[in-house]
């Protein structure tokens, strides 16, 4: 049974079809890459999955529950975590409080299992290699550090499905490795990851499967190596197969 199921998702805004009949499943523990050119609807699809946009048609099922009409905070409490393209951390808060605010928002049952708040905050900051900055305001961090903090925070807050929107954007090559390591750790813990990324080698390295989106439609889906070699991907990204 898939953990996430998208059935015929359509979204029309002011007469423009942003998403058109998007359907695919994601199995538990799978890491799926969502790729496509700019404006293909990837982030919009994430906004639909997180509940910030309501689809005009179709349904979203998470762990067999229809969550199409649930508000974002309810989805998060069910276990849908999101890492934003433009750093979803709170810059005016300290790193500690950034983690604490996420842990406090967890459902009570999960919070009871996690140990003391202080221990978990510490463990999260250690995971992001930011423990020495605990009392600093998050706005003083570099882009890569913000990204690590955000991913570690989402991971520790008991989420089951991770929606990562370009986690390596604005991140140094060294930090990109750290991000890949954290996603690897998620995979080992059988967490499910849906990741938007433009870095195709990165996608090929970490994903089990790739879904290609273009003008709001799924045009291709398969294993990273197959997708990489396909003519459709070349057409989507470059307008035509460069070998012809």
């Amino acid at each position: 049974m898939p953990i996430l199921s998208l059935a015929n998702i359509g979204l029309t805004i002011q007469g423009h079809h942003i998403l058109n009949g998007v359907s695919f499943d994601v199995e538990e523990g799978e890491v799926v890459g969502l790729i496509g050119p700019n404006g293909s609807g990837k982030t919009t699809l994430f906004n639909v999955l997180s509940g910030f946009l309501k689809p005009t048609e179709g349904s979203v099922t998470f762990r067999e529950d229809d969550i199409t009409h649930l508000i974002p905070s309810k989805r998060a409490q069910l276990g849908v975590g999101r890492v934003f393209q433009h750093f979803g951390i709170f810059r005016e808060m300290t790193l500690e409080d950034n983690v604490r605010v996420a842990l406090e928002a967890m459902p009570k049952e999960l919070r009871n299992d996690m140990g003391t708040m202080e221990e978990t905050v510490r463990a999260t900051l250690e995971m992001a290699t930011l423990l020495s900055h605990a009392k600093q305001k998050a706005g003083s961090l570099s882009g890569g550090q913000m990204r690590l903090l955000e991913i570690a925070r989402t991971l520790k807050s008991g989420k089951e499905l991770f929606l990562l929107d370009e986690p390596t954007a604005g991140v140094s090559p060294k930090m990109t490795h750290q991000v890949a390591d954290i996603i690897g750790a998620l995979k080992k813990e059988k967490k499910t990851v849906l990741i938007i990324e433009h870095d195709l080698p990165f996608i090929a390295q970490i994903c089990d499967r790739v879904v290609v989106l273009d003008v709001g439609q799924v045009v291709l889906s398969g294993k990273p190596d197959e997708v990489k070699k396909s003519k459709e991907l070349q057409e989507v990204y470059f307008g035509a197969d460069p070998t012809t």
């Binding site: 982030t43 905070s73 998060a76 934003f84 433009h86 409080d97 406090e104 928002a105």
Partner: protein, 285 residues
């Protein structure tokens, strides 16, 4: 000495609704300009029932609590349904509507004349003791809010004010947190409704007009939106200035405009100084 006590009492009485307002406007960064509507609802329900209809104080207090809570919930609901600027305008409209009803429902409220002979009841009659009660109440309110600010509620409110989507994606319920914020603002108005009219023995609608709302905004902005300590300090300084102007020997017809002009100047400078931190920077998702 009496003048100093008077300033302390006035500052503390202002502190109740203003620190409550600071939770919504300063900490939550919600464009709310209807705090005086909450105050009007609280104070008129309470004292109209006690003075005009001779109802027992506790019953009137309960009714006042009920109407203020209902208005706070209405404001919270409106803030969820409207865009921030739309809500700002709507909250002003709501304040003016409540004020207009009070001014025109003369058989009950006595209109612009207000309600005189507000009894002090169990509150002390001497200035010193009144000051003591008010100061102790203000200290308790300050520390209660400080505790809330450092709790998960405070963190959630700040997270929502920084970026609503980011906060909601963590599981923070905007409706729950903002409803609590509006209820706290209403509580501040309630406490002031109990203590302020008995102090001056009069309930006047002029003490709750839009100019007073501007005064609240000015104190919140000048003190640093969301800062309990800063706003408290601003309240004391600005009230000292306001009350102090009365002793400068200015003719009565000049005093009012001078007060308004000096408040305008303070607000202008405060907004200029704090323009970067007044409202959250818009960030894309």
């Amino acid at each position: 000495m009496d003048f100093l006590l008077h300033i302390i009492i006035m500052a503390c009485l202002t502190l109740f609704p203003l620190l409550g307002y600071n939770i919504v406007f300063g900490k939550g960064k919600i464009l709310h300009f209807g705090q005086e509507a909450q105050s009007l609802m609280a104070v008129y329900t309470l004292w109209v029932l006690v003075v005009q209809f001779q109802q027992p104080f506790l019953l009137a207090l309960l009714a006042s609590l009920l109407t203020t809570t209902m208005l706070s919930l209405l404001l919270a609901q409106l803030s969820f349904r409207l865009e921030p600027d739309g809500f700002g305008v709507m909250s002003i409209a709501l304040h003016l509507a409540v004020l207009s009803i009070i001014l025109n429902w003369q058989s009950v409220t006595r209109g612009a004349l207000g309600i005189p002979r507000i009894p002090r009841g169990i509150l002390p009659s001497s200035l010193e003791r009144y000051a003591l009660v008010v100061v102790l109440g203000a200290i308790a309110w300050y520390f209660f809010l400080r505790r809330l600010e450092r709790s998960s509620f405070g963190r959630n409110l700040v997270a929502l004010s920084e970026h609503e989507w980011h906060a909601e994606s963590l599981g923070i319920s905007r409706k729950k947190v903002h409803t609590i914020a509006f209820l706290l603002a209403g509580t501040g108005s309630m406490i002031s409704a109990i203590l302020f009219p008995p102090y001056i023995f009069l309930l006047s609608p002029l003490d709750y007009n839009f100019q007073h709302m501007i005064f609240f905004v000015m104190c919140a902005v000048a003190g640093g939106p969301g800062s309990l300590r800063g706003v408290t300090l601003a309240i004391f300084l600005i009230i000292f200035l306001r009350e102090g102007l009365r002793f400068m020997g200015l003719p009565a017809d000049i005093l009012g405009p001078v007060q308004i002009m000096s408040f305008g100047l303070i607000l202008f400078v405060a907004v200029c100084v704090r323009r970067d931190t007044l409202f959250p920077k818009q960030r894309t998702v």
